[in-house]
Point group: D2
Chain length 470, copies 4
């Protein structure tokens, strides 16, 4: 659709009636100029409350379930009253909210009875947060004369059946989304779509994984051929480092898709890693903007920055990682074959290899994965090598949890010969020991594994050394 | 055998009649104190001349063949005359030399006729160098009243059938070597054994690969339960760097097996990589000594050094390497699976992975191999991924030849937090760009890939920065 | 335990109060002579009713749930009244039954609310059938003065966490079972254990899969070192064919473990395939006996029969199978490699290959699997070969559902040269076309794939031809 | 080329001066009607003599070498004299023969000196047979006024570098062959091309493997877009069975490519298996004709026969086969995975699986391969499963050599329900025991493994039962 804008509002931008009003104002403003599609997260904390309710239910804590249900009811009821002073409109909307919450209540009670929290029901349950928030903001805009209407993404976004972490089927989604939304957009209507959720071809509810509202927006931007995607959150944009670790971290004006993806991949919270893929394929630029600070320009994510590739742009870190070492004890084993079989095991366990290095002479090698993926990985490795481990051809698999990954990201780092030296000197000045280093051939990222307790000092030191702050 | 000493003399230590006399003096001295076994290389340049002769023959250059045969004859005839002034002894020995050279001449003429140089005949041909040198030194010692006798390792060292790069079968070698040598040693005789060669169980001549005389000595030291191995060459020991690149490189007093193996693996010339394995299994210490400088103490290779793990000990470099990058072009391919399949292909091509790094987000990865192994590797990779390459799921395989590998080796480097920074700063001060970095979990070695034209400067800079020189 | 007898009663043998009294009589008789452990199935049809209730619940059919709950209550309440005329005993037992059914009711209502039937809760729910039946028979025996007591196998049988089809962890089960049961057995008490269920190390309820009460009995027989296992059902033993297909099928006196396993594997219903493994390891003989016909001798399953290997003993058939064909369309693909990768996919999909044949020249090959495993297999194959299928290197995967597998089983068939000819002639006389034939090297089984509509005729014809009937 | 005929004469059709004259007459006749290309084998027994000479040389038997060289010289010299009574022509041709034989003599003497027979020189040496025969027949035709000329296929057929069993590179061959032959054909000349040999892109001599003259002809027919290929030999065509085993075997009028390929694949000698592939791609029909019996019509190999698919057409057998069984000894191993890994090993060993069956319950499986491929297969299997074999997870690999494979081939066998029964009854009537049966889904072939000593009886019995004879 020509000149279509997709805007996505995160949880904090939907956090109170006041915030919803601001978001609505931004929507109305955009909608008055161009065709606009809005994607919303649940009100802040609501997704966590929903999950906590289910955990209470699983644990048999009926009182906790009831308390949470009441709190959820209160929160949305109050917000509804604030947004819609006019009683008839308010009552009509409250009835919708009630019926949505009743669905959640039904699921929570089912979990309570089973003492189990099956993934498919969890997916259905937590989409409730977005269904509530989209209902509220759509009703509010309607009360102001805008032709807004709430849409459950379950009717638009088609996914595979991996409950809790579904992937979109783009062709089917395109067909559904265009069919459903195009007529409305042509009539100058404003759809407000739930983020985060979808459904399989045969209608079973799914979610795209946490943080997935960004992904919802990018999927829709892609299938609707949007000309831009604006992501509204409570920060001024993508920063040169986590400001909680680095006080003088600054907002970046522009970064490339590749840089954003590497940042996301290496632990930066701003954008979900998968979010960028549908956009890159169509060169749709993304703005990361702050709905709390409309004067801040935000960060633009683009195929190529105007500045060009200027070297380090940002530093990220991850601490929920594990370093796994495989070490052949016998020269009978080919180290290369062991590596090949290990990687097959990693692929079968659906784990991502964050970094990988091999030591030449001993033929051992180590790789870094997310701690969450560790149990599945270890299980697969032990199954794959059970005979080799039993008979001592391989030493016991070594897992190191006391580690963190630090990554320096930026296009054009290869033009800076002194860079690696300065970075390592900066880290060592803080007396932080480097465990492993992985720099791929892309030279877009240097990944460094250090002891976990040194990671903060290291991030600060590298950020300062590269002159990334204000 | 109790207190058994194995001594190995390299080509330069056997290079002239004078050198052979010195070597013989060292042998006689040792032999007067303890049971001794001697392993010798061919006279210096002889192996190259033998190979060149076969190349001439393959190319149809009969004149070149004849000239080389004459030169080989001369060289050994002159040496024989120098060593054995007494005519009867000289004539008897010269007859032996003649018959050995005749065998070589027969092979060279066969190659000339076929226009082809089949590996098995090559292996038979180049063992001739050691057979000549061992005959000479044994005859010389005999003329001085020592009970020395030459032994063709073909009768001792049993190998697999990988012509040109055979591996020993230790149990079978032990049986043969003990049977053949023990009675002689008990009678206080001194065996002088050809280095470099062996034979399969069914008697086909093999060689252990170039530089393999060290390996011969270490195999024999192991199967004979020697208490020490002395490797005599023309350098004062293992050095902190290649003295042609780094003028102030110094001789190391002691290093560990692991350090020596890493140095060898990363390009240092002193000891063949496989040499250490049989010794490590039995904790047999090795001395690297200079037969041209008997006062120099040499380097001792031991399980653990007296100094303990003190950090960087030496810097090595390799330039005959290639950096291969595989880069999925489609998100349909799992990067981890591609890596697994590539490593299987590398294993099938019998190639060693010198360094390996993967870049997280693009799922591409690159590995460093020896240039000599590149054609086989590329062939295997192209066969493995032919469909993926044909249809563009994988970008064309990228090979970079303009690279070199630099390695800093030393036990205990992990106790030096500032080290990586200093090393990279030192390299960058020379304006040498770092392409890839690989530090394994062992922390015994840091491998750095740089442009080929920067490798010398980088080696010098790192050597200086680590204070490794005199 | 010396002379220990394990007896297992199937659903029909527990089907009514009368049947339970008969079973109890058999238990009491055994218990008066030797230490005895009893394993029971649910009353006949109860497991199906439990499953149906959960399906009603999943489908939202509250009325169906209620009706089933009432029926289950009735059935067990009536049985309890019949078994225990004495009111105090009846009331105490009924209270136990009520509390067990309440647990089931809770789960059914949870499923109703979620509209989903999660595997773990299903496992917990359907163990209820055995808990009810074991409570009834134990109470009845107690009322007759026997020291019987009901045991939930959840406290004895430790399994992995594959809900719905768990596998036992034998060492952990041995420890638990010996600790719990040995003191009781030494005091001459009679444990009555629920079949079919178990629990993970951390206490989550599991089941061993349908038909798994036999497996429970064989696991317990093994860990308790029983001297015999008696399986009581409503048939006179293992038969030469399914009597519904072959009227003159006869009961076999003896068969070997291997024959029983092949029969089970190829579709005979009598014994669960996994049941025999723990018994074979300890050579524990099994009797298959009829609790409705105590004079019938039953079938004895033993390491070797007294008759010895006499050729065909029985014919079985399966119709819920699919024949999958892979067919390379391009000579670029190695048929052998495609076969290897397909089998890896089958292994990853956890599917069993019932039969496999390959055609030499076209390099295509086909394999037979259970229909239930087909979706997972096709998914894996399509993922494995997605590129090859997309670009036409492989023809579309062909699935044939209109097929059935017939197997003739017997040790010593190799001594009957004419057998294959007679079998195929017999089949062809019935105008049934043979699609594929697989006879392995063991010569214990000939597997024949035919059109589904010919399978009954084929079974009858082979049974007659081999003279297996009365 | 429009209406181009390719004719190929086998060794017996070139066996004497008389036979060469007959072949020449056939060539001249064809050439007078249409553009013709002739491919010739060596004179009968010559290839064997060449190989024997090299074996003598390898073994150091100089006298044997000389005797063979003399015999080869005689044979061709006599033939030359017979063909060319005219002295000048004879002398010119004899000079060519002399120079070709001198090349062979040179290679034989080289082998004698090395005591080794390297594959590349062998390939160069044995192409000499075809070079001699093509020179003779071309000279003879020239003497009769036909514009014939001999061509060494080394200048036409481009292959990969697998010495002794090379595969053609069709595109490169097409370019060379068209460039070289088209101008001559347009000038109505008659090229006589050596069969069996070719060369790599960089000119190293190769051969297509024994029997490869057929393949040469089919490659050339394909790249030259011939309209027919005639294969002249000493038999009347493709027969319903080997006439040495089955006296009443009859010549088949027509068979399909698929039938011919299956026959070849299962041991029939008439056509090399690979021969058909280039022809099938272009639907070029092939005649198998008898140069000794010009009135016999021969067999036509076509995409579809006029009779259509009529069921069994021929029976073949192979006895140089081995049945290999893998048998997991531990339930810890997945039989399916073991099968997958075995097939990978077979692919890596370049072995063809002639038949494959698996037994369900024990998860063992067996496959049939050619005896010639057995050593490589066993080596690979032992390497693949070395740990499993060492520690007893797999039973020792079982190899059965006392077996033979019998195959019944024919399109449309699936329309004959009684067939399998009749075949097996026929075999069993002869008291031959069937070891394994493999019928793929194509139903074009039934493969049966029997004891080797029963194979002849079985072939005769099946041939009679199917009414295939005269």
């Amino acid at each position: 659709m020509k000149n279509l804008l997709v805007m996505k509002f995160g949880g904090t931008s939907m956090g109170t009636a006041e915030r919803i009003k601001s978001a609505a104002a931004l929507c109305e403003d955009a909608h008055s100029h161009r065709p606009t599609v809005v994607v919303v997260s649940a009100m802040s904390k609501v997704t966590d409350m929903l999950l906590e309710t289910l955990r209470h239910a699983e644990g048999g804590d009926e009182r906790g379930v009831d308390a949470n249900l009441a709190a959820l009811d209160h929160k949305h009821r109050d917000c509804c009253a604030d947004l819609l002073p006019d009683l008839p409109a308010r009552n009509a909307t409250q009835a919708l909210l009630d019926s949505i919450l009743l669905e959640f209540s039904r699921i929570a009670r089912g979990v309570l009875m089973l003492g189990e929290r099956p993934p498919r029901s969890v997916d259905e349950a937590i989409a409730v947060g977005e269904r509530l928030s989209s209902t509220l903001i759509a009703a509010y805009m309607k009360s102001r004369g805008v032709e807004a209407f709430a849409v459950n993404a379950r009717d638009l976004v088609v996914t595979d059946a991996v409950f809790g972490n579904a992937s979109p089927l783009m062709d089917q989604t395109r067909e559904k989304a265009v069919n459903q939304l195009k007529p409305a957009l042509e009539q100058r209507k404003l759809p407000v779509i739930t983020g985060f959720n979808g459904a399989t071809m045969d209608g079973r509810a799914t979610t795209l994984g946490r943080g997935g509202s960004d992904f919802s927006a990018s999927i829709l931007a892609s299938v609707l051929d949007a000309s831009e995607l604006w992501i509204w959150s409570d920060v001024d944009g993508i920063m040169s480092a986590d400001p909680r670790l680095v006080p003088n971290a600054k907002v970046l004006d522009e970064i490339t898709y590749r840089e954003a993806a590497e940042l996301a991949y290496n632990g930066a919270k701003v954008l979900h890693p998968r979010t960028l893929v549908p956009l890159m394929e169509k060169d749709i630029p993304v703005w990361s903007k702050n709905s709390f600070n409309l004067t801040a320009p935000g960060t633009r994510i683009v195929p190529e920055t105007r500045e060009g590739p200027i070297g380090p742009r940002a530093v990220t870190s991850m601490t929920n990682v594990a370093l796994v070492t495989l070490d052949p004890a016998s020269a009978l084993l080919s180290g290369t074959k062991i590596m090949a079989r290990s990687l097959e095991a990693l692929a079968a366990a659906n784990a991502e290899v964050l970094a990988l290095t091999s030591s030449s002479y001993r033929q051992n090698f180590c790789f870094l994965i997310r701690t969450a993926e560790l149990p599945a990985v270890i299980e697969r490795l032990e199954a794959t090598f059970s005979i080799e481990l039993t008979h001592g051809y391989l030493n016991p698999i070594d897992v190191e949890l006391d580690v963190g990954l630090l990554a320096i990201v930026g296009e054009g780092m290869k033009g800076h010969p002194g860079l690696a030296g300065r970075i390592f000197t900066a880290i060592s000045r803080e007396m932080v020991n480097i465990i492993a280093i992985a720099q791929g051939s892309s030279e877009l990222t240097i990944g460094i594994v250090v002891r976990k307790d040194g990671i903060e000092k290291a991030v600060r030191a590298v950020h300062a050394e590269c002159g990334l702050g204000n």
